[in-house]
Symmetry: C2
Subunit: 176 residues, 2 copies
């Protein structure tokens, strides 16, 4: 079984991953002690991460350490920058990167956003599975998870899970 | 218990209710004999319908009879037009219409789209429940169910249902 690229992400019911100014505060409505919505188990199954430069910098600017420094991590950027330990700033072609990672042995590959990287990956049909957590809110404005201008992609529903705080997790894999 | 305005609609996973040129052919991937995804039961619970003029004309142009001619039906339009039996062309304010319908006795009120009417109703917080059928496909382009520029609205998840063909039906009600 080869490595898969998996998008694991949360979105509002109206399809936004953030409100304007990268405001993620709506995620707090599903916070519940002892409930991580499968995140820890998911992260155990991945050992490489692809994340956009803006998303990476947002995490750092919030005062967090980059959570995937223990993995083979690629920050996708247009501006070359020196690597920080296992964290590599990647300016090349995304398909080349995914092909390289898939040619190597390893666990799955986590696409941790943001919307621009999702868009670029989908334009080349490079996402194998989607685990999308739908937050029970219409936020009304912000950054849409899915931008216009991608090829059609038929999916197979793997599972749906409903949680106490109203989060629904939809798991799909691509069929072609 | 007062009448509720319920949006009952299908969308692709990437949030489109139609592909460009009002192409709805992707809905066929969930067609299954004997499975109507709760539509007949839902329609029994409504006796009034609000639908946008473009959506109405699309149905008619496809050679169908308007399916809600037996109900108290309002086609929302900017251009006055003579009523056709129970089908009324409504050019007034949406809140006034919803307030009027709610002041009368009756079953629930079905919002049958399209995106413009959903947007106008949500700008005034006039949708009480959402029954959204997520089709297992990324269509890539088209008419988004939710446009930018609405107020935030927190929801309560009522139920999720998963069907054999990969359709997931999400049912929410508003909390404020």
């Amino acid at each position: 079984m080869s490595r898969k690229v998996i998008l694991y992400i949360a979105t509002s019911l109206d399809g936004y991953i953030a409100k304007p100014n990268d405001d993620l505060s709506f995620l707090s409505i599903v916070e519940q002690e002892g409930e991580d919505y499968g995140y820890a188990d998911f992260v155990k199954m991945v050992d490489a991460v692809i994340v956009g430069r803006k998303t990476y910098e947002k995490v750092i600017s919030m005062g967090f350490d980059f959570p995937h420094a223990d993995k083979d991590a690629y920050i996708i950027t247009r501006t070359p920058k020196q690597n920080v330990g296992s964290v590599k700033f990647y300016t090349g072609n995304l398909k080349t990167l995914v092909d390289k990672l898939k040619s190597e042995n390893g666990k799955n590959i986590f696409c941790d956003g943001g919307a621009e990287i999702v868009h670029e990956l989908l334009k080349e049909n490079l996402i194998d599975e989607f685990i999308i957590s739908v937050i029970p809110i219409l936020v009304g404005n912000g950054t849409k998870l899915f931008k216009d201008g991608r090829p059609e992609l038929k999916l197979k529903l793997v599972s749906t899970k409903q949680f106490e705080k109203g989060l629904t997790q939809l798991h799909y894999k691509r069929t072609n």
